[in-house]
Amino acid sequence: MSEIKTQNAKDFTDAPLCLSGRGVTKAFGIGEKRKLAVDHVDFDFHEGEFVSIVGESGSGKTTLSKMLLGLLNVTEGQILFRGKPRDISSGRKKREYWKGIQAIFQDPFSSYNVFHKIDSVLLDCINMRGGKHLPKEKKIEMMTEACSFVNLKFAELTNKYPFELSGGQMQRLMIARIFLLRPNILLADEPTSMIDACSRATILDMLLKLRDETGMTVIFITHDIGLAYYISDSVYIMEHGKFVEAGAPDKVMLTPEAPYTKRLISDVPKIHEPWDLSTVDLLQQEA
C-alpha cells in the first residue's frame, strides 16, 4: 500500500491562511423542524492549496459552499477571510468580497443565462476586473487568451449562445471566466459530476494548471473520494454536516479513522477486483 502516492500533494500548513471557519453552522427551519445542514465545522484553507471536501449527497457540502460564497447567511460561527472576520453586510461589501472568491457550479447547463451570448459572459468578467474602459481590441485579446487557456477558440464562440456548446465546453468556458477574474479563491462545486469521464480529466487538469499559474486556492467539492485523493493537497470528509476527518490525502486515505471514511473508500470501484457492495446492505439496514 505504501507504494501508492498522491500526484502532487504538498504541505501548505505554513502558508498564510486564506479562508477559515470557526464553528460555522447553518440551520434550516425553526422549532421541531429545525435541521442543521452544517453543524459547527472548523476549517483552515491556505493560500494556493487545493482542498477537497468529500461527502455524499445531503451531507451539507453545497450548503457549506454557498455560505463560503456568501450566497447563504451563516446561522452561527464565523468565517475569516485572510485572517480577518469576513464582512459582507452590505451589497457593496459583498461585491468587494466576490472579487476575491468565485465559483464553478455543478450543472453547466443551468449556470448560464440562456439569453446572454458568450461574449457578454466574458466581457462581464473583464468589466468586473476594472477593464471597462479598455479598447475593444484589448478586450478581444484578453478573451481570446482566456479561451485558448481552456482549449477553446474565441473566434468560433463569438456571437454564440452558451447552450449551443457541449457540457464539457461550457464547463471549460466557466474556467475561462475564472481565468479572467483571477480570484484568490475558486470554489468548484462538483464541476465534473455532470460531464463525461474524458472531459472530466481535461477539466481537472485545467483547474490544477490554473492553480499553479495564479496561485489561487481551489476548494473542490466532490462525492468522489478517489478523485479527491489524486488531486488534493488536503481532504475534508463531511458527514451529516460535520467534518469527521481531515488532513493530507495520504493520511486520510491510507489510515482512515472514521467509519464513514472507510465506507467511502470501500465504495470506490477498483479495476481487477470484485466490487465490495456490502456497505450498500449496511446502508439499507440503517434505513
Binding site: L71, G91, W98, F105, Y112, N113
Partner: protein
C-alpha cells in the same frame, strides 16, 4: 427570439385567435373611414329602427320613374298587407263573434274580405278579448281597407302663397325607381338603438374604446402584479411576507364587489373610460402577483442567478436580465388574460350602470346598459344588444385562444 415567434405562429390555436383579433382590429380602423362621423349622432327620431336599407320617400317620389309590369307584384303587395297569420286571426274573430264561417276557404281572399267588411265594426267587443287584441284588429282593418285602395296615388304640393293643393304627379302600381338614382338611401345593417343612433357605427367605436380599456386595465394589473411578484419572490423574507399579506387580503375580497364599491365611491362625474380602466387594473393584479412570485422563487436559486450575483450585478440588473426574461412568456400570457378580463369587467360594471360616464364615447358595456334600460330584450330589438354580446365573446374568445396557443408553445407538457 425569431425561433420562438415562428413556433408561436405554428400553433393553430394561436393563429386562429390572432386572425379573429386582427379582423376585429382592422374593422375598427377601416370602418370609420368608410362611414365617418360621430358614432353617437342621433340620426333616427324613433327608437330601435330595424336593420335594413332606408330609402327617402320624398326623393323617391321625385326620381325618374320606369314602368315595370311584374306578374307577382299584386300578390306580394297583398301578402305584405295580409299575411297568413292575419287570415287565421280574422277567422278567430269571426268565431268569437259567432258568425257562421262554414264553407269559408281561408285562401280565398275575396270571400274572406267580403265577410270581414260585412261584419267588422271597430266598436264590437267579443267576450274575453283583450284590449291589445282589439287594437290589433283595428290595425288589421286599416290594412284591409288599403287593399281596396285606388290604383293611383296623386302627389300634390301646397302652394306657398295660396295654400292650395296643386297636383304635381301621380304614382301607379307599376311605377318603379332605381335605388341607385335616389339621392338619399341610408343603409343601417344593424338598425338604430333607443336614441336613434346607427348601431353598427356605435359598435365599431365601442369595440375600440373597450379594447383600449382592456389594454389599460391589463397593463396596470400586469405592471402592479409583476413588480410586486418580482419583489416579493426575489427579495423574500419580511418584504415577501408583507406583500403576500396585502395580496392575500385583496384575493379574499371578491374583486367585483371591490370594483363596484370603488366605482361607486369615485362618483359619476369623475368616471371616464380611463379612470374605469385604471380601477379595473387596480383590483385585478393579485393573481399575476401570486403566480409571478412563485415563478421567481423557483428561479432565484438557479445557478445562473448565483453566478450573476457573484459577478457583482445589482439587484435591479439581476431581476431585469436574469429573472424577467425567463418569465417573460408567462407574463405575456398573463397580460393577454388580463386584457380579456378587463374588457369583461368593464361590460359587467357598465351593465350595472357603474361604467364610464360618457356622452361622447360608447363602450360595449354602455351599449348593453342602454339596450337594457330601454327594454330592447323585451321588445324584440335584438340588434341593439346581440351584436354587442357577440363582439365581446369574439374578443374574449380570440384572446383566450391566443393564450392557450402560447401556453402550448411555452409549456411542452401541454403539446398535443
Amino acid at each position: 427570439m425569431k425561433n420562438t415567434i415562428r413556433q408561436v405562429f405554428h400553433s393553430s390555436k394561436f393563429v386562429t385567435g390572432f386572425v379573429i383579433l386582427v379582423i376585429i382590429l382592422l374593422t375598427m380602423f377601416i370602418y370609420p373611414l368608410i362611414n365617418p362621423g360621430n358614432p353617437l349622432e342621433m340620426i333616427g327620431v324613433g327608437t330601435f329602427a330595424k336593420p335594413g336599407t332606408y330609402v327617402s320617400l320624398y326623393d323617391a317620389s321625385r326620381t325618374g320613374k320606369e314602368t315595370l309590369r311584374l306578374s307577382d307584384a299584386d300578390e306580394k303587395r297583398l301578402n305584405r298587407l295580409l299575411s297568413d297569420a292575419d287570415r287565421v286571426s280574422m277567422v278567430e274573430w269571426f268565431s268569437a263573434m259567432g258568425i257562421d264561417i262554414s264553407g269559408l276557404d281561408i285562401s280565398d281572399t275575396d270571400a274572406l274580405l267580403d265577410l270581414w267588411k260585412a261584419n267588422y265594426t271597430p266598436d264590437s267587443k267579443p267576450a274575453g278579448m283583450t284590449m291589445a287584441k282589439r287594437n290589433y284588429y283595428k290595425r288589421l282593418d286599416k290594412a284591409i281597407k288599403e287593399i281596396g285602395a285606388s290604383d293611383t296615388l296623386i302627389i300634390t304640393e301646397k302652394h306657398a302663397e295660396t295654400g292650395e293643393l296643386e297636383e304635381i304627379g301621380s304614382i301607379t302600381k307599376t311605377d318603379y325607381v332605381n335605388v341607385g338614382q335616389v339621392a338619399n338611401v341610408k343603409s343601417l345593417p344593424l338598425g338604430t338603438d333607443n336614441f336613434g343612433r346607427d348601431v353598427l357605427k356605435e359598435l365599431v367605436s365601442a369595440t375600440g374604446t373597450s379594447i383600449v380599456i382592456g389594454l389599460i386595465a391589463g397593463t396596470v394589473a400586469t405592471l402592479i402584479g409583476l413588480a410586486l411578484g418580482l419583489l416579493s419572490g426575489y427579495v423574500g423574507g419580511l418584504v415577501d411576507d408583507l406583500i403576500m399579506f396585502v395580496t392575500n387580503i385583496f384575493t379574499v375580497i371578491p374583486g367585483f364587489v371591490l370594483l363596484i364599491l370603488i366605482s361607486y365611491s369615485i362618483g359619476q362625474d369623475q368616471r371616464g373610460a380611463a379612470v374605469v380602466a385604471i380601477v379595473i387594473g387596480f383590483t385585478s393584479w393579485t393573481w399575476t402577483a401570486r403566480s409571478v412570485r412563485s415563478q421567481v422563487i423557483s428561479l432565484r436559486n438557479r445557478d445562473h442567478v448565483n453566478l450573476s450575483k457573484l459577478s457583482g450585478h445589482s439587484l435591479i440588473r439581476i431581476v431585469l436580465t436574469d429573472i424577467l426574461p425567463y418569465i417573460a412568456s408567462y407574463v405575456v400570457m398573463a397580460f393577454i388574460l388580463q386584457v380579456s378580463s378587463g374588457i369583461l369587467a368593464e361590460a359587467q360594471l357598465s351593465l350595472l350602470g357603474l361604467g364610464p360616464k360618457t356622452t361622447t364615447t360608447p363602450t360595449l358595456g354602455l351599449m348593453m346598459n342602454w339596450a337594457m334600460l330601454y327594454s330592447a330584450h323585451t321588445n324584440g330589438s335584438w340588434w341593439a344588444y346581440f351584436p354587442v354580446i357577440l363582439t365581446i365573446t369574439c374578443i374574449s374568445f380570440s384572446l383566450n385562444l391566443m393564450n392557450t396557443g402560447l401556453d402550448q408553445v411555452f409549456n411542452p407538457t401541454l403539446r398535443d
